[in-house]
Symmetry: C2
Subunit: 269 residues, 2 copies
């Protein structure tokens, strides 16, 4: 899906501070955030009515690879301890769901936000792309300037209360001789999805066609490369679509919350 930019993307998005990036998004820039504000953790957003907050937090606890919780707001609050901006305006784009059905994409959800919403910030694999790049592991969607490719899988999450749904994964093509390095590096970031859940063979995940992602843009898998799959923080939105709660607001896949936390805050030895 093409992004409609109302502002030009900055020449060097990696060099932006989280505050600068959020200001651009607040002003209307609508782009996927991979490669933005290098060194700062990015996060998935899912905001749900207070009544569902326990079910969701339990869903996250039971599915920690897909739903690592970085922060949770008090009901109605619009910033978080790791996100000093405004959660209603400072992401590049949002998706709203009513009874599980997509009800539009927005760049500002101030008029839709409700005082009973609890917002969850979920770790995002964009966070470990900086250390991958530093280790000379190519990240194709950053090279191509597109959104990461994401797929619904045939792997059900462990349900919790009223929430259930399939695991969603992101895919990066990795040169075969660098797959082990990619595993080693990403396993040091368990709070942002950690090690891959699957290496090669999309069919066993129920993915029929790598050229047709369920979210984001397709990327080419070159000869000598292996598709590597990481659990993805769009999983909560797949659960919303499957479980049909009355109302939810998520980020538009790939259009993340850029937090004030450092990548290194989520690194284990």
């Amino acid at each position: 899906m093409a992004d409609t930019d109302t502002l030009h993307a900055p020449a060097d998005p990696a060099a932006l501070s989280p505050e600068e990036a959020r200001a651009l998004f607040r002003a209307g820039l609508r782009v996927p955030t991979a490669g933005y504000a290098a060194g700062y953790a990015q996060a998935n957003l899912i905001a749900l009515p207070r009544d569902l907050a326990f079910d969701f937090l339990l869903f996250a606890q039971r599915n920690p690879k897909a739903c690592p919780v970085l922060d949770v707001t008090e009901p109605g609050e619009t910033s978080a301890s790791i996100f000093a901006g405004d959660l209603r305006t400072d992401l590049p784009a949002y998706r709203v769901y009513r009874h599980g059905e997509p009800a539009g994409e927005f760049t500002d959800v101030r008029e839709l936000w409700r005082p009973d919403l609890v917002a969850f910030l979920i770790g995002c694999s964009f966070t470990f792309e900086t250390p991958m790049l530093q280790a000379d592991i190519p990240v194709r969607h950053i090279e191509a300037g597109t959104n990461v490719a994401m797929f619904r899988t045939n792997r059900p999450c462990r349900p919790a209360g009223r929430l259930e749904g399939p695991m969603v994964v992101s895919m990066r093509p990795i040169p075969a001789d660098q797959v082990a390095d990619a595993v080693r590096i990403t396993s040091r970031y368990p709070s942002v999805h950690g090690a891959p859940v699957h290496v090669g063979d999309p069919a066993t995940l129920g993915i029929a066609d790598l050229d047709r992602p369920d979210f984001g843009d397709p990327v080419e898998v070159l000869p000598g490369e292996v598709p590597v799959f990481w659990a993805c923080g769009v999983t909560p939105q797949a659960a919303v679509m499957a479980s049909k709660p009355e109302f939810a607001i998520g980020h538009a896949p790939g259009h993340m919350a850029i937090t004030d936390a450092r990548d290194s805050d989520y690194q284990v030895p």
Copy 2:
């Protein structure tokens, strides 16, 4: 506090399976569980009314060193995915709280359990004592056959909803030349409290006298040893005492749930 045994402790508690250990406790054996069922993870218990479950899960998310959640039951359930036994009978001893006040210790809480209780199993540092022993790091309370020494600290947890309270720590005296090894080994088990929160100098944690623990038994710190402090899963009970919810059931400190999960399930690379 002396434990009143109605059964003799087994000759080789480390060799018991989780099922065998739970059967002994169900039959009335009332002992601290350090050293039992080597290789299996132990867990702290806190059961709270459903109405408080979100606040507690958020408290745990905000205080992950002290409250690493291993498992959560559905309301009213009495077993868990990592605990095939009966949570009301298969721990050696329980503490019941009413409005934050201790309301007795029991070896069986079947008559007190309520259908609205949600039980949380929280990681326990007994889990990493096996790898410590395998690395020839002494564990004094196992050598002495006593309960581990636990202390309330002056460090407040991050509150969540109606829950607040101080961090509780367990203390082990470690020979000075093995402190680094103890840090290295325990840091590989983040789900069972991980690396120490404090090494040496109890006064800065607000601990006036190592000979007077708030929970468990005192242990001697020998010349050449340093007191090392790990976050402790009794922290939820300190939060219950500080926050005074209407009803709660915990384990008696040191008298843990022996789970079916392996220590190694919680080890990171």
